[in-house]
């Protein structure tokens, strides 16, 4: 009995290294969480447009137009500040969030009001054999390119979501029509 008592008394685990490691791991995971992974959309510009005045054969492409359905209102309630106010710490304007911003699409001639419907329509077009066009490089067939045209008042988020839907449907070549003017 006395030997057992001795053995029990001697067990004094040193918690310091474990606590150290736990703290290190907490710091590591907190810091990792701040680093949001970024991805990219290769929006390669056509080499034959703008870069030279050479005339090239026009190609059939699907037009995806984005219009503003409801402009929405900027909301500064989260970060503070207001329109045109500069944050003294960051030297940048305060950030806003758009409330009630709604857009509508026109995929070809068809008007659509939900992103899900845009995805369905784009997938249908991508699978349609008549969407295949001649590939000037290989001489074979390829899916036509699509051009995303954003009308005044649309935001980067609207374009990114539409481009994402095009990618999901299988369109490999996505062009952007820009410079359609500022918001009225």
């Amino acid at each position: 009995m006395s030997a057992l008592d001795d053995a029990q008394e001697e067990v004094k685990p040193d918690m310091t290294p474990m606590i150290d490691v736990v703290f290190l791991m907490i710091i590591f995971f907190i810091c990792i969480d701040f680093k949001v992974l970024e991805s990219k959309l290769p929006a390669y510009l056509p080499k034959d447009k703008g870069s030279s005045s050479a005339v090239v054969e026009p190609q059939e492409q699907l037009s995806v137009r984005i219009y503003v359905d409801n402009a929405g209102t900027p909301d500064y309630s989260k970060g503070g500040g207001g329109p045109g106010v500069i944050n003294a710490n960051t030297k940048r304007p305060y950030r806003f969030v758009m409330k009630d911003h709604r857009i509508k699409w026109e995929v070809g001639p068809k008007p659509l009001y939900k992103l899900e419907d845009v995805k369905t329509e784009l997938t249908r077009i991508a699978k349609d054999p008549s969407s295949q066009v001649k590939d000037p490089k290989t001489g074979g067939k390829k899916l036509m390119s699509c051009v995303v045209e954003a009308y005044p008042g649309t935001f980067y988020d609207d374009v990114a979501k539409t481009a994402d839907a095009c990618n999901e449907a299988g369109f490999a070549e996505i062009n952007f029509g820009g410079g359609l003017g500022p918001k009225k």
Partner: protein
């Protein structure tokens, strides 16, 4: 040598644990600080996208153009174009001049320092000189597309000729907290 000094020498056992802790903490600190400072990234909330390419290993010399919510164009933490100052109507060529000058300066500096490569391509029977390296445009999700489109348009100008334009997206929407279920967005 006395017995006492012998004993003292034998008992010197250095505890390495605190030192290793400190080294690890310093490593984490420097890795994060270097990572954040070198990227020339403005604090923006990028739009979330699922079917895009992950940007895990960006090219070292890739220029990064930031477009803020109000349309300001920022490069290396310096504002080059401010809509309040330079105007918003891009039909007037003077409005986009600061953006054009910035891209020209990036191109000239990159070519002089051999960080950017110029290639000649034969397009429709004409030789066209193009920059063969990518350029990244980062914009906030609530930046009007008009401003992003103008930067892209300027990139396509023959005297600038950055044709490999990449648009930055995120795998998580920091505004709503929505996150892609798969890490490293997959392109179909």
């Amino acid at each position: 040598m006395s017995d006492v000094s012998k004993l003292a020498q034998q008992n010197v056992e250095m505890d390495m644990t605190p030192m290793i802790d400190c080294v690890f903490l310093l490593m984490i600190f420097f890795v994060l600080v270097i990572d954040l400072s070198q990227k020339n990234l403005e604090d923006l909330i990028l739009p979330r996208a699922v079917f895009q390419e992950p940007d895990d290993t960006p090219p070292e010399n890739r220029p990064v153009i930031n477009v803020l919510q109000n349309g300001s164009v920022v490069y290396n933490q310096k504002v080059y174009y401010d809509p309040d100052q330079h105007g918003r109507d891009f039909r007037n060529p003077n409005t986009a001049k600061p953006i054009k000058d910035l891209l020209l300066a990036i191109r000239t500096q990159g070519l002089n320092e051999k960080k950017l490569k110029l290639v000649e391509e034969d397009i429709a029977g004409k030789k066209v000189a193009l920059i063969d390296d990518p350029i990244l445009i980062r914009a906030d999700k609530w930046t009007e597309w008009n401003y992003v489109g103008e930067v892209m348009k300027q990139c396509s100008m023959p005297e600038i000729a950055f044709w490999k334009v990449e648009l930055a997206l995120s795998e998580q929407d920091k505004e709503t907290g929505e996150k892609n279920s798969k890490l490293g967005g997959q392109k179909q």
